[in-house]
């Protein structure tokens, strides 16, 4: 079982987000980054499948040199090797640009399974995995909460809206987009971190596709609702709130 897992480096959840002077992207020159949340679950799922069925896990990330940091982390958690698809333009590229870059890097590997997260925290296209599957001629299933492999097929549990689910069976090779919460994450051990130093991160160049989507303006959304802001000491806020709740007869 040869599995590729796509991990995106995104701004850390704790980071304060500020739009750049051109109003087209965020200021991220000295920001903190981390692995996109659902991609962490995708990586964990890949590692579990390898533990059950044997094989190899290849972590793949597209972006500038800084994204090798998330590849190191994936290697420390147990991925066998990594591919870095290098190109600065990928950070702001549209979903098709990123999907093309990742797909062409993964294609020669001849993998059985590709796992991605269902959505990135920054761009939030929710597209890269599905588009990659179409490019590679693979079937796919999205928002996956369970994966089991048997007889060259994969049976997955798709999350639907409002607490509904559905099992779907697909032939291999296939691509799955993984939902957060599918498993319990493991964290890198010191041993893992040491071992990662010896593992390979192969650099490949991105296939140069031009974005067809452009951000004309990036901004903080305007509030449309009348909001009362409660300020002061904790005790003052509490007093004002409780009074408001009583007046509104919600308590």
């Amino acid at each position: 079982m040869k599995i590729a897992v796509c991990v995106k480096q995104v701004l850390s959840r704790e980071a304060t987000i500020r739009v750049n002077d051109q109003g087209t992207w965020v200021r991220d020159a000295d920001a903190q980054f981390e692995i996109n949340e659902p991609d962490q679950y995708a990586l964990e799922e890949a590692l579990r499948l390898k533990e059950q069925h044997g094989g190899e896990v290849i972590a793949v990330s597209a972006g500038p040199a800084r994204v090798t940091q998330v590849l190191r982390e994936a290697l420390a958690r147990g991925a066998d090797r990594a591919i870095h698809v290098g190109d600065d333009a990928l950070v702001e590229g549209d979903a098709f640009v990123v999907a093309a870059a990742l797909a062409e890097a993964i294609r020669p590997e001849g993998v059985d399974l590709i796992l991605t997260g269902l959505q990135s925290d920054d761009q939030g296209f929710g597209q890269v995995g599905v588009v990659m599957a179409e490019r590679l001629g693979m079937p796919h299933a999205t928002i996956i909460m369970d994966v089991s492999l048997a007889d060259g097929q994969v049976r997955v549990k798709r999350e639907l809206e409002g607490g509904w689910f559905q099992w779907v069976t697909l032939p291999l090779p296939t691509l799955l987009t993984i939902q957060s919460g599918i498993n319990q994450l493991r964290y890198a051990t010191l041993k893992g971190i040491m071992a990662a130093k010896k593992k390979e991160i192969r650099a490949v160049r991105a296939e140069g596709r031009a974005s067809e989507q452009r951000i004309a303006r990036l901004y903080v959304p305007e509030k449309s609702k009348q909001t009362r802001v409660l300020e002061g000491s904790a005790a003052e806020i509490a007093k004002e709130l409780v009074q408001a709740l009583r007046e509104a007869r919600v308590i």
């Binding site: 269902l118 599957a133 179409e134 607490g163 951000i215 959304p221 609702k225 409780v242 408001a244």
Partner: protein, 321 residues
């Protein structure tokens, strides 16, 4: 011409599809709606009550249950034949599953999860949230039509759909679907058996998000809930981590609630959470980030550390009772 892809289930038009029809009508362009499935003439007739140009009906036994492969093949043929400028669809889980594939098959861009669209300087401008709704982006698209656009649920109003004086024509469109080429084999949808709590009946809900920091602090939120006679609920990451059971999750993949009071503690306000609670009569948000998106829909905003404010609120409630 704008082509709307309808979604339906159990013989009914998905409410979000009506929102998209309304959005398409508001552009002033000619609108067509395409319905894909099997034995779904009733759905097409219902959509034909809207004031649109026509409803296209694609029926085939291979399309009886939704599959990404089947829908992509069927709709790709229709989009190519109809020469639409925009193809609009609601950003549902089903759309997430096949529309990127459809767009990739035709090699035309998909602007996903939009909350607005308008024409400016002879080009479409799409508004979509980015960075977990902390920012919004105006997006322009280059290249030839059609452009695919998915609309976030609730960003247009279904009750603004214009109805026609009489039903518009329903035109059957023949497509050939090779059922052997459909690689997904879906089973019947199901619900996880144990849904112990029904939060939809609660008058007051105290809901916790990742700002609660650790499972050891859940008790603080429980004390507040007790003081308010409220039910305790949570955002998805809290349930994923097992700090609260899954049946207390609010949002697109959890429960949808509309209590008198929804008190959000350390919840950022991601759309998938918001769709589950925005109907609440009064929303109070406590978040230490003054720019957290949850404040956009809060009636009362408290930009502070929940660990300072919550004990004070509990004390205030208990002192008065």
């Amino acid at each position: 011409m704008i082509l709307v892809i309808a979604e339906h289930g159990r013989g009914e038009v998905n409410r979000a599809t009506w929102e998209v029809v309304a959005a398409a009508q508001q552009t002033g362009e000619p609108v067509k709606v395409v319905v894909v499935g099997h034995d779904c003439r009733g759905v097409a007739s219902e959509l034909a009550t809207a004031s649109v140009d026509e409803v296209l009906l694609v029926e085939d036994a291979a399309l009886a249950t939704y599959t990404a492969d089947g829908y992509t093949a069927a709709i790709a043929a229709v989009v190519q034949a109809e020469a639409a400028t925009l193809v609009l669809v609601a950003h549902t889980y089903q759309a997430r599953d096949f529309v990127p594939k459809l767009a990739a098959r035709l090699d035309r861009p998909l602007v996903a999860d939009c909350v607005g669209l308008r024409r400016q300087d002879n080009a479409w401008r799409f508004v979509r949230p980015m960075f977990q709704a902390k920012l919004a982006a105006d997006v322009l698209v280059d290249g030839p039509a059609p452009h695919f656009v998915s609309l976030q649920l609730g960003s247009f109003r279904a009750d603004q759909v214009q109805r026609g004086a009489s039903a518009v024509p329903v035109r059957p469109v023949a497509v050939s679907i090779d059922s052997a080429a459909i690689r997904q084999r879906p089973e019947e949808p199901f619900k996880e058996a144990k849904q112990a709590v029904d939060l939809t009946q609660a008058d007051c809900i105290v809901s916790i998000g990742r700002g609660i920091k650790g499972p050891e602090h859940v008790v603080l939120a429980q004390q507040l809930a007790d003081a308010l006679s409220a039910e305790l609920a949570a955002s998805r990451p809290i349930c994923d981590a097992g700090w609260l059971p899954m049946d207390r999750q609010i949002g697109s993949s959890g429960q949808t609630v509309a209590p008198k009071l929804y008190l959000a503690l350390g919840i950022s306000g991601a759309i998938q959470h918001v769709v589950g609670m925005k109907g609440s009569r009064m929303i109070v948000a406590i978040n230490k980030d003054p720019e957290a998106p949850i404040f956009e829909l809060a009636d009362y905003a408290i930009a502070a550390d929940l660990f300072d404010v919550v004990p004070a609120i509990i004390a205030e409630l208990n002192s008065q009772s």
